[in-house]
Symmetry: C2
DNA sequence: TTCAGATATATCCATTATCGATATATTCCG
DNA sequence: CGGAATATATCGATAATGGATATATCTGAA
């Protein structure tokens, strides 16, 4: 029997995961996706089309602050080098939002579990 | 501070809840919504535009079987009375699907919880 | 008796969210 | 030398949702 696919992340869940990654320190888009990809064993892999609009929304709502970093080649000091990284830092407002998401998620799972058969100790 | 809104149900979660209601016995659309509405304290209230297409999909996939019931007025035996109810019964295939949904949901929450701060025993 | 609210099923449409593809450019490593 | 990885971002087609609309009956309170 095939592994049943996981339910898809709701927008709120996706936002919560991104914020939870940023709660451990500033990061940038690509690294955030990788963290979520690895941390979920690939189950919550986010495409760029999902990630970047989400990050833009977080910025617009003041949940994160952003700064650009010029990434220079290891073997070069060339300042005109165009490689760039956009760093995201969780704002106090973002921290509060994360806590709200976590609380909402706990209520969410509690409500759902009430519909499901109890998880019993399995006979050996 | 306002109650943070719950994450929205994914299609899989909505399907799981409907199937879990039917696992307790046959039911019909309106009663299913009421069961989910009450069982979730209104949090997962489903509009008709969500419920009926969902039920139609379950039927088409063979997860439920359906029968029509003619609902007669309490004080009448009139057979031409047009009130009707569509009953849904969980099929064996539907039972298996429900179990898959439940397993997937457990994995889903476990993966998400790994991103969140542990729920510690609170100091009194 | 009347009339609002509940019961009961179902679809339409505008909005939103998602996935896959596309675009661009650099850097790493074999 | 060249493909995979790094890095950001948008476009367009598809899918799912919420609110409204449609229809018809039944219940209970004023």
């Amino acid at each position: 029997m095939p592994e049943a696919p996981l339910p898809r992340l709701s927008p709120n869940h996706a936002e919560m995961l991104v914020l939870s990654v940023l709660a451990e320190g500033p990061s940038y888009g690509y690294a955030i996706t990788k963290a979520i990809d690895l941390g979920s064993e690939g189950s919550f892999a986010m495409g760029a089309a999902k990630l970047y609009p989400l990050l833009a929304r977080l910025d617009k709502q003041g949940l994160v602050t952003t700064t650009w970093e010029e990434v220079k080649a290891r073997d070069s000091d060339d300042e005109t080098n165009g490689r760039r990284r956009k760093w995201y830092t969780l704002s106090p407002k973002g921290e509060r939002r994360l806590e709200q998401h976590v609380q909402a998620h706990r209520r969410f799972t509690a409500l759902i579990d009430a519909f499901l058969p109890p998880l019993e100790a399995r006979p050996a």
